[in-house]
């Protein structure tokens, strides 16, 4: 029974005194999460293989890295490492069946994340932005639904919205919840439609000012272009400039009430305005859209005008270039920066056959030999790097702004990418961030990040000593060079977290 915010507020005033009197251990689980991060400890068996085995591989690649003891837990899911890895991924593909109360309790402190759209406007923009970032970080660290969180990040990039633009400051919170998180392991066509009609997206890519009240008005092409170029077909997907303009015409009239408009309680409401819709005939990717006859009644004309959006989305979703584009991006995320052609084909076929069902598409990807063999060949992006370090060390953290400061320096704080293409996935643009990673590793290992704390002695003991700790962090036994560096560096934990192997996944 989750504790609602209201119930908590009822006991709020006395809870501090109560806490002082009884100590954290006696608090109910729901309340405890407000004060400290979940802990997981006890002795565990680190990897004993020379190379990364299939279990370490899936924990590094489809999750944000293992927590202490997780490697052992996953191993028990099968009789061989390969079987165990496959069973783990299968569990992860059904996130709702994994109990995630711990993570959900941990993010409950970020109360704006659950506010209804209209009420978001009651908050300061900075608080909303901070809670979005802290919520994303907290969930990535603590959630049992790791693949789901990985996919949330993937789609956040795919449908990137920079909240600094206009009303997106408020609306992005709802977009994150109702578009990205709602559909991250669901159906791509449904996610695309939710995104097309997301108030934040209508702001960010100017759909709200895409109108044609008379023939002199020029439709705003911004969303139409990114829909084709980024969200669906891909830039070489075979569309023309005319297609972009025609899609923009089909989408004219969809708008969103802005903060500057009255009545106040309708801010963020998405509306279709027939008077701003271009009712002329159109052609998109070779398909004809008949003109909407002027002699029909208004309701019918509205229905026909609105249906053009659905038809456009259907055409682009079913276009073979969309399957290829998404498959290429997924393979780049999960297999290699230069995705192997055979895997791209297999995954694109699964996407097409399942009508864009995301778990089915991913299942096909994880079953390829290309995925299984491509171990340790990707470089973690800074967010992944920091989350994996916090998970591996079992650190407790409030995911506070000092921690987020490290992500900002590396240019990878969530919801901080200015253009619609999202943070880049390949390693190259991130190679300049090594110094900041080393700085972070030092600060984390020396407990110098405010709000973040690790217990080195316990971690080292539970891993069975220095060698076990290194194996746990590296996902395999350390090389002689690594072991030597660990002892010589004078800062062993920081050294391993800074080492080349820990930058890989």
């Amino acid at each position: 029974m989750p504790l609602s915010r209201r119930n908590f507020l009822k006991v709020g005033s006395s809870s501090a005194a109560w806490l002082a009197a009884v100590g954290c251990d006696q608090l109910p689980r729901e309340l405890r999460a407000l004060y400290e991060s979940p802990k997981r400890s006890g002795p565990f068996q680190p990897p004993t293989t020379q190379d990364i085995d299939p279990v370490s591989h899936v924990l590094n690649r489809t999750a944000f890295g293992p927590r202490p003891g997780e490697y052992t837990r996953v191993h028990k899911l099968g009789t061989t490492p390969m079987e165990a890895a496959a069973a783990y991924v299968e569990q992860q593909l059904s996130p709702l069946q994994l109990d995630d109360a711990e993570a959900e309790n941990a993010v409950r402190r970020f109360e704006t994340l659950n506010e209804p759209l209209g009420e978001l406007f009651e908050y300061q923009e900075e608080l909303l932005q901070n809670e979005l970032m802290r919520g994303a970080l907290t969930r990535a660290i603590w959630s049992e639904r790791q693949l789901y969180e990985v996919m949330v990040q993937f789609w956040s990039d795919h449908f990137n919205i920079d909240p600094s633009k206009g009303d997106c400051k408020w609306l992005k919170v709802a977009d994150d919840r109702e578009v990205v998180r709602q559909h991250a392991l669901g159906s791509f066509p449904e996610m695309l439609r939710a995104s097309a009609l997301s108030p934040a997206m209508l702001w960010y890519l100017d759909g709200r000012v895409n109108r044609r009240e008379n023939m002199a008005d020029k439709p705003n092409e911004n969303y139409a272009r990114e829909l084709l170029e980024l969200h669906s077909l891909g830039v070489h997907g075979g569309y023309t400039q005319t297609d972009v303009m025609e899609v923009a015409r089909c989408l004219t009239g969809w708008t969103v009430r802005s903060k500057a408009q009255e009545p106040y309680f309708q801010i963020g409401k998405v509306e279709f305005k027939l008077s701003q819709h271009d009712c002329g005939g159109k052609q998109v990717l070779g398909e004809n859209f008949p003109a909407i006859p002027a002699n029909l009644d208004k309701t019918r004309r509205e229905q026909l005008g609105q249906a053009e959006l659905d038809r456009v989305l259907e055409i682009v979703t079913n276009h073979p270039a969309t399957a290829r584009h998404l498959s290429t991006k997924l393979c780049q995320r999960f297999i290699a920066d230069e995705p192997p052609a055979r895997a791209v084909e297999i995954v694109a076929a699964a996407f097409t056959q399942s009508s864009g069902d995301i778990p089915t598409t991913l299942r096909a990807l994880f079953a390829t030999n290309e995925f299984r063999e491509a171990r340790g060949n990707k470089i973690k992006r800074p967010f992944n790097y920091i989350v994996s370090a916090l998970r591996a060390t079992g650190a407790s953290t409030d995911a506070g702004m000092e921690l987020i400061g490290y992500l900002q320096r590396m240019g990878h704080a969530p919801f901080n990418y200015p253009t619609p293409d999202g943070f880049p996935e390949p390693a190259a643009p991130w190679l300049g961030t090594l110094l900041w990673r080393w700085n972070f590793a030092l600060a984390l290992s020396e407990n110098k990040i405010k709000g973040t704390q690790l217990d080195f002695a316990t971690l080292q003991k539970n891993a069975g000593g220095d060698a076990g700790l290194m194996a746990h962090l590296l996902g395999r036994k350390p090389s002689p060079d690594e072991a030597q560096a660990y002892h010589e560096s004078g800062a062993g934990l920081a050294l391993i977290l800074s080492a080349p192997a820990f930058q890989r996944c």
């Binding site: 911004n222 320096r409 300049g432 080349p500």
Partner: protein
Amino acid sequence: MAEVQSILTGNGDQRQTLVVVFLRGGADGLNLVAPLDDDGYYRARPRIAIGRKQAVHLDGFYGLNPLLQALEPAYHDGALAIVHAAGSEDNTRSHFEAQDLMEHGGVTGGGWLGRFLRAQNPAGSGPLAAVALGKSIPECLRGSPAATVLQSLDDFSLGDNRSRLTQSLANLYGAQTDVLASAGRDTLEALRRVQRLRNTPYLAANGADYGGDDFSRGLRQVARLIKARVGLQAASVDLGGWDSHFSQSLIMDPLITRLANGLAAFYQDLGDEMQHTTVVVMTEFGRRVEENSAFGTDHGRGSVMFVIGGGIKGGRVLGKWPGLSREVLEGPGDLPVLTNYRNVLAPILQRHGAGDKLSQVFPEFNVAPLPLYG
């Protein structure tokens, strides 16, 4: 090693530095440098054109946006040249495609600046040969023998007494065989060099007044590195946010002010050092000639480039002007590109020592250098 020492002691280093300013989002060249004498301009933009009275008149035909006034001294000194109707051959009107193509310098591996630095430094370059001010390395520096992301010199450090850790990292990164090897080596080397600059306070020269925004701060750091002679050959500074589909002046005016103030302060601060420094300002494409219904402009083609530096025969607006009549406009109504950006970069790279290596920098393109230097 000898070269490294000479750079660190500041003796005999006569490096020329190329500073690339990228205006991301497609900057509206027509409202940065307006064709005041072309009536078509005022017909197409009844609400957002730069008025003849407000503009800073340059040559009887063109006028600067009044917010660019701070650049007037450099123009009259002959150190600033402007190239109009410039851009790339990319006609996707996609930010990402157009930026990508422009920064790569064609459909080819690596960025044009990265390839230039490789051609210049076949044995590898110093770790501070190329610096990207900001948060990530831009595509133009892809493939560079060294490129460091830098936001501030002051926090570019692992702290004190880290020599054992640094040595251990050097051992582990040195044993790598992929991109992490060079990334680790460059990071450690850059760390050592910048450490020496850290405790020296910096005062801009000649009364130059940098703003407090990221763009000005970036140029200030570049000026500092140039004067410190750390072997800086190329620096990249971005100024983003030019995608003015909507309420153009609200979006562009603050950016234009930042652009003008930053460049003017840099020009003033460097003084005689400008002799071996060049700044080139570019953008992926311009905006549609006609304004749209939302007081903005949509993605177009031709825009404007600025070049400030030593030896330039400036005080001119170069490039042909096609006029703005319907027949000359391209596609949905865009200023055509009459000067390919590579032909603006080519003479600059030659001055910076590219010599006969231009074909390595711009393969698959027959370069016809614009006569920037006379």
